[in-house]
């Protein structure tokens, strides 16, 4: 295999913060599912409808003769999700034990771990933002005019699994990373804060911005899945682009370019 030059591509600030928030997001997601399990339905508006229906998703269990059946309702459509959602291991719980932290049911412990890692994440993002503003890494994430012109070609290249190893991120890479850093994660923090009755008194405009506490909770859940989607694509791209080179760059900072690149 022909090889191009080895370059120092990822600074220490980028690498360390990347791994810290990777750990944070892992814990935040799985404790989030634990918290969700305490009230496994999502509503739109200020409140949760009990005497009327404003739910867009609900996960529950229904007794059928001797056995429990897991039922997931999305919009007006019901799905039998026994074994995974609603009922798993014969127990009525929305997300199964293997998908939650802790694995046993404990809202108190789930919240404790969730808020701990929420703080670590916010701190890490702040460090990353300051360091990246100072060392120029922020500019790496913003598409240039040339990038925008090259977008169709980058889409075609990715669709054909032709991955280039260049000094700069490709335009799709920039859009994905910028989407996570400047859209998804800020949305997670803002919708999380909107669920706090204390913070509602501090910043009531957040309730107006998201259309109510229950809508904020729903958005929090949906953006979580968007982040999971990003993670899946992120892993696939690492496998396709060559996991050794990709992992080396985010661990040591050194990255091998394609032959002819500099």
């Amino acid at each position: 295999m022909s090889k191009g030059p080895l370059i120092y591509r990822q600074r220490i600030w980028t690498r360390v913060t990347h791994w810290i928030w990777a750990v944070c997001l892992f814990f935040l997601m799985l404790t989030g599912l634990q918290i969700f399990n305490a009230f496994p339905s999502l509503h739109v508006g200020q409140e949760s409808g009990f005497d009327y229906d404003n739910a867009i998703l609900s996960i529950g269990a229904v007794q059928e003769g001797e056995s429990l059946r897991g039922v997931t309702r999305v919009g007006g459509v019901e799905f039998d999700t026994t074994g995974v959602l609603g009922v798993s291991n014969g127990e009525a719980r929305a997300f199964p034990a293997w998908a939650t932290i802790p694995s046993y049911t404990s809202l108190a412990t789930g919240r404790l771990i969730h808020f701990f890692f929420a703080w670590v994440l916010v701190g890490t993002l702040a460090v990353w933002l300051v360091a990246s503003a100072l060392n120029g890494h922020l500019r790496d994430l913003f598409p240039t005019m040339a990038d925008v012109r090259g977008l169709p070609r980058d889409v075609v290249d990715h669709a054909r699994l032709r991955i280039h190893h260049t000094r700069r991120y490709s335009v799709l890479q920039k859009l994905a990373y910028a989407g996570v850093m400047f859209v998804a994660l800020p949305l997670m923090i803002a919708t999380g804060l909107t669920m706090s009755p204390s913070f509602n008194a501090t910043a009531p405009w957040l309730l107006d911005a998201f259309g109510g506490r229950q809508t904020a909770r729903t958005i929090h859940f949906i953006v979580m899945w968007a982040l999971v989607g990003f993670f899946v694509v992120h892993m696939l791209m690492i496998l396709l682009a060559g996991p050794f080179n990709e992992l080396r760059s985010i661990i040591t900072g050194w990255y091998r370019l394609d032959k002819g690149e500099e």
Binding site: H43, E47, P102, T109, S196, P197, S198, A201
Partner: protein
């Protein structure tokens, strides 16, 4: 190709490590576990931040049009305690709210006496720690009015709310629900002792004859079925010493998020 296989092996190994890690984590995060103290430190940070940012700001209030359903009852919804049942069957005529502890002027107030004090109504959103919300109109007497009448001593720091309902029947005996807030929340204008819900007397399911409303915190702070308010210097003497039934069971004492 070798690189890829190596990566997949490492990934599979990592996944197995993750599974055994779950057990370690489950244990470490339990009360008394190795990680619990570190995790709890974040609670302190959350508390101080909320106090710093919140100040004495008011919780959002809503309009009558936002009340679209009855207030969902939760926790104890009909205390089976004999004392309570007796009081309830007499329409709470013999019920008294006792204000005791570090006060110059201990009180024993009838429901009528509380209703004769200046009242406040507020349409607010009740947020349960489980995740749901419900909007309702609450009417009651500001706690600050009652405290002013009782005149707390200089060493007063917390208000403990003693409830009539038995929330737990454990091997060690009966556990009555209790809660506490500090003086700062106690004198917040929206902190009221509510006897009315949605323009009707407070129903038994929602805490009759009197319950607490602390609008910037979660539902479990809003103790129902009150019989005594105790003004204290510290909360260590009550329950397991964490200041509330649910704080004794691992939840935050300050439930602002």
């Amino acid at each position: 190709m070798m690189q890829r296989r190596g990566f997949l092996t490492a990934a599979a190994g990592g996944a197995m490590l993750g599974l055994s890690g779950c057990k370690v984590l489950d244990t470490a995060a339990k009360p008394g576990g190795a990680a619990r103290g570190i995790l709890m430190a974040a609670n302190g940070l959350t508390y101080r931040t909320q106090r710093l940012l919140g100040g004495d700001a008011l919780a959002p209030e809503f309009t009558a049009a936002d009340i679209r359903q009855g207030q969902k009852p939760n926790g104890t919804i009909n205390p089976s305690d004999t004392d309570y049942q007796t009081l309830a069957s007499a329409g709470f005529a013999d019920w008294r709210l006792n204000v005791i502890g570090a006060v110059e002027n201990p009180l024993s107030l009838t429901l009528g006496a509380l209703q004769a004090m200046p009242a406040r109504s507020q349409i607010t959103r009740h947020d349960c720690v489980e995740g749901w919300s419900c909007i309702a109109k609450w009417t009651g007497v500001p706690l600050s009015q009652v405290l002013d009448a009782a005149r707390p001593r200089a060493n007063a720091r917390y208000i403990v709310f003693h409830c009539m309902d038995t929330i737990e029947r454990s091997l060690s005996g009966l556990v009555k629900y209790y809660e506490s807030i500090d003086l700062r929340d106690a004198v917040h204008p929206q902190t009221i002792l509510a006897y009315g819900l949605n323009d009707a007397p407070l129903p038994v399911a929602n805490g009759a004859p009197l319950r607490l409303r602390v609008e910037r915190q979660l539902g479990y702070k809003m103790a129902k079925y009150l019989h005594t308010i105790e003004v204290v210097e510290g909360v260590q003497a009550f329950g397991d010493g964490n200041g509330s039934y649910w704080a004794d069971r691992g939840y935050e004492w300050y439930a602002g998020i």
